[in-house]
Symmetry: C2
Subunit: 196 residues, 2 copies
């Protein structure tokens, strides 16, 4: 990975090893019916989405920005106002996340970075990457719920390249499964020992 995105440490030695093994992750894939076809459709989506990243982020940020109980997680603890530096820093990594999700490269580096992303939503690491003083944790229920707007609003972008509606359906299904698997992995720090 060669990007200049601050705090984007995917594949670097700074990222700790995931507490979940690749075998355990294989079981999650199996339970979520995630297979080689999904990998193929995610990669197909990459070519379509790569030039639309900013527009997609506009839609997602528009939703969070207009929803006070979600924008809350980007506000300063001190004055309860949205921290625009924080929102901007996260946005750069969020854009890269779209490409990484579409890359669909489920190796050990990927698994490790999912755990890192979970920690950064959780009080263990939230705010540290961007050195901000925002609220200390993103409640897990919203991380899980946001799968829907993330994958629903993607559809018009997936449709832009003139693929058949069957291909668009399959790309969207693959995105739904990949995002679900990721939020499952992100949830680990929130869960009591041995219950994940």
């Amino acid at each position: 990975m060669t990007t200049n995105i601050p705090g984007y440490t995917y594949g670097s030695a700074e990222v700790a090893k995931s507490p979940l093994s690749m075998d355990d992750f294989a079981n999650i894939k199996h339970a979520a019916l995630f297979g080689d076809e999904d990998v193929r459709y995610l990669k197909m989506s990459r070519d379509i989405l790569k030039d639309q990243v900013e527009q997609i982020l506009d839609v997602w940020y528009g939703f969070v920005g207009s929803t006070p109980f979600l924008l809350h997680y980007f506000t300063n603890k001190s004055d309860n106002q949205p921290n625009t530096d924080y929102l901007g820093a996260v946005r750069k990594r969020f854009g890269q996340w779209i490409l990484d999700t579409a890359n669909a490269n489920y190796d050990q580096d990927w698994l490790n970075y999912q755990y890192e992303i979970g920690l950064r939503h959780h009080s263990i690491k939230k705010n540290k990457t961007d050195n901000v003083d925002a609220v200390p944790i993103i409640n897990l229920r919203y991380i899980l719920a946001l799968q829907v707007p993330i994958t629903t609003t993607l559809r018009p972008f997936l449709e832009k390249d003139g693929h058949s509606s069957e291909d668009v359906d399959k790309m969207q299904d693959a995105w739904r499964k990949s995002v679900l698997m990721q939020v499952i992995l992100w949830s680990q720090p929130y869960i009591h020992e041995g219950q994940f």
Copy 2:
């Protein structure tokens, strides 16, 4: 509710009040883009699914039964063999859950019962309803992952009544959102205090 399903306590005084308020649940609905249209399409699905419950359960039980790391949760602690009484007792409530999900009646009784279902997957109450000696908890990662087979395999059943593919899409979307909201609520006992 008038059923004779053992352990089905929806709406009864035995069910504790959900620790989540109706206002908090309204935020989850908002974050998951769940609205009145979804309620309408869930109710539409009820008429289609109500006579296919056993066939749907056959598909779901077929998947779990053929997946050792999932069937594991229905095995006896003592001999590691599947407990058929337990599987059968859960199946009756699972059938009723299909109808309850399609009823889409999101009131306080419904919210309370979601918490009860979560407790029954968690070590706090697992095995107690059916008085069995199975493994003590269902790991949350699989509860979350199983949303995919549950909502994917539903499609051919939703298609049986000759509705337009647009209606089927919308019924399936509404099911995805409802099941997601339910597994979010079920996850609460697994999560560290204040992080849900």
